[in-house]
């Protein structure tokens, strides 16, 4: 038990409790309802030049808008963007486009008409459906942004009492796995404290910088 602060979060159920579950459930339900109903109202009794208010267009619009809402949510949630994160998100979007195109292509229809019953959909009506999903995701985006903004304002500075004190080892060492469970240097840097007062930076285990190696023996 060298690092007791790692276990406190689990003991307190801070990351998954009834409240968080309820909020997540509500969020998912509201996103799905918004995705469906916005598409519904955009399509209601629509008059397209070739009547785009048909079953396929509606289904594809709802599916696309749900998918894009989820992608935007994930983008909002990822805090540390490695190359892998970028790759995965882009590949996800590309695969979606690719498979939409393939399943709606005319060749797929010729192979199995009962399964791939939406031939030639992509070129048609993409403008209207694009508008519809844009509105849906646009509604999600500012709400998420505001949530994040308020969260960054409300969180207090982490207290340092709970940090374990290193008794051995003369310089701070943490495995990066444990390190990744804390916030980065955001607070430190935006405060500007670390630039102003170098001597007073001691090294509790929570903060770790190779460069600022002036430690206080604890």
């Amino acid at each position: 038990m060298e690092f007791p602060e790692l276990y406190v979060i689990g003991q307190r159920d801070e990351l998954f409790n009834y409240r968080i579950f309820g909020v997540t459930l509500l969020h998912g339900v509201s996103t799905s309802l918004a995705s469906f109903y916005i598409a519904l109202w955009a399509f209601e009794d629509r008059v397209g030049s070739k009547v785009v208010g048909d079953y396929e267009s509606f289904a594809i619009t709802v599916a696309t808008s749900s998918f894009l809402s989820v992608i935007v949510e994930i983008v909002m949630d990822i805090k540390f963007w490695t190359a892998l994160s970028f790759l995965v998100v882009t590949t996800s979007v590309l695969f979606f486009c690719l498979f939409s195109f393939l399943t709606q292509s005319i060749n797929a229809f010729k192979i199995a008409p009962a399964v791939f019953c939406f031939p030639g959909k992509m070129p048609q009506g993409s403008l209207q459906q694009g508008l519809a999903w844009e509105v849906a995701t646009a509604l999600m985006y500012p709400i998420s942004l505001q949530k994040i903004r308020l969260k960054t304002k409300r969180e207090p500075e982490p207290s340092v009492e709970l940090r374990a004190h290193i008794r051995r080892g003369s310089f701070c060492r943490r495995s990066s796995y444990a390190f990744s469970h804390h916030e980065g240097y955001a607070g430190l840097i935006t405060r500007g404290d670390s630039l102003r007062a170098k001597e007073s930076v001691y090294c509790p285990v929570g903060l770790f910088l190779k460069k600022h190696n002036k430690t206080k023996k604890l």
Binding site: E2, W41, A42, F43, E44, D45, R46, V47, G48, S49, K50, V51, G53, D54, Y55, F58, A59, W81, T82, A83, I106, F109, K110, P113, A114, C117, P119, G120, Q124, L127, Q128, L131, A132, V135, A138, P142, L145, I148, R149, T152, K153, R173, R174, S175, S176, Y177, A178, S180, G184, Y185, A186, I189, T190, R191, G192, D193, A197, E199, S200, K210
Partner: protein
């Protein structure tokens, strides 16, 4: 936005170091070489990948909100104004009210000969410029019912000869009739809309017919790829459909839908438009086009018009309603105020939130930088 680029450079490779690698060195067997199960010390496996951490500060979030607001509101206004400029006129001709001219056709059977006709006179207040689209609309008609949507045979409609004589099981109970396969099979085809609508302009007691164009109303991919007649001589469709029978509720078989060979059989455009199932119980489908004659005259002038209806399609039994709609279109489709309103709403919410956050930032945002840690 401040970007924190942290290359985590942990050099600790000793197995006896910090919390991570202690358990890996479990000895297997007594005294021999200790097989460590610790993962390799690569950047990927030790989760030391360089990462980019976006930090949302007021300097990025506030402009973003304002920009989104400023982009969406004009788009919404543009869409709304465009939608309002679209002319639309709708006539409900179900005939449920006793005063309606079509009331006499309300309870007439679907296959009565001669068919019941009625005429409705109406007046257009404003003239309709540019191409006018004529739609028929149905209400309380659930073309999105699951069993209804499945009740078709796409390979039969694609011209496959084996499916023509042996339709798929999904079409039940509209698959065969008196031991002969039905072409086209299924409930969707069976319930095809078969009212005939004709438009006349009344000009000093003379009725001038308005040319209604019936080609070009279906999707190109539908007409040329998805729906194909059975292979053979296209001029003699009767022979191609030999061995099949017409759907139960149709007055005429499928090869007599139109006299022109490229609009007859499965590739009849009215049939194709009907087979494209609608998403909602209240829907409209394109019926005919009224093309603009020249740039000087409006397509439909303001004035008196008369609609002749051959009332074949019964909707009264399920409380459905039928209507005819005349509409112009724009670059974004037909009359759709919802999109414009939605864009304006989202844009103004964004703008308002931006203003609120700006106020919050101004009042409380400078608190952190004023504190100095004493030496």
């Amino acid at each position: 936005m401040a970007v924190n680029y942290s290359a985590k450079e942990e050099v600790d490779g000793h197995p006896s170091g910090g919390g991570g690698g202690v358990a890996g060195g479990g000895a297997v067997g007594g005294g021999g070489a200790v097989k460590t199960r610790k993962p390799d010390n690569t950047a990927f496996k030790q989760q030391r990948l360089p990462a980019w951490q976006p930090i949302l500060t007021a300097g990025t979030v506030l402009p973003a909100f304002f920009v989104i607001g400023l982009i969406f509101i004009p788009i919404g206004i543009g869409i709304f104004v465009t939608s309002n400029n679209i002319r639309e006129y709708e006539i409900d001709y179900t005939g449920t009210e006793p005063s309606s001219p079509c009331n006499k056709c309300l309870n007439v059977s679907w296959d009565s000969t001669p068919p019941c006709t009625c005429t409705i006179d109406f007046t257009l207040e404003h003239s309709f410029e540019s191409n006018v689209f004529m739609y028929y609309g149905l209400s309380n008609f659930y073309q999105n019912h699951r069993r209804y949507v499945k009740s078709r045979d796409d390979s039969q409609l694609n011209g496959d000869n084996s499916s023509l004589l042996n339709p798929s099981k999904e079409c039940e109970p509209y698959r065969t009739n008196e031991d002969k396969p039905i072409a086209p099979c299924g409930a969707i085809a069976n319930s095809m809309f078969n009212d005939t609508l004709e438009l006349y302009r009344i000009d000093n007691d003379t009725r001038i017919p308005i040319t209604l164009i019936k080609k070009g109303i279906a999707w190109w991919t539908d007409k040329n790829v998805k729906f194909r007649n059975p292979s053979g001589d296209t001029n003699n469709l009767t022979a191609l459909f030999q061995g099949t029978t017409k759907p139960v509720n149709w007055p005429k078989p499928v090869y007599m839908l139109d006299s022109e060979p490229d609009n007859n059989g499965f590739i009849n455009e009215d049939f194709i438009v009907w087979m494209r199932t609608a998403a909602l119980p209240t829907f409209r489908k394109l019926y005919r086009l009224i093309e603009r004659k020249n740039n000087l005259q409006p397509t439909l002038q303001a004035g008196k018009y008369s609609l002749d209806i051959t009332y074949n399609y019964p909707v009264h039994s399920f409380d459905g309603r039928k209507r005819m709609i005349l509409s112009t279109i724009s670059w974004m489709g037909g009359k759709n105020p919802f999109l414009g309103i939605a864009y304006i709403t989202v844009g103004s919410i964004c703008f308002f939130l931006g203003v609120v956050l700006l106020i919050i930032h101004h009042k409380y945002g400078n608190r952190n930088t004023s504190a100095d840690i004493p030496n």
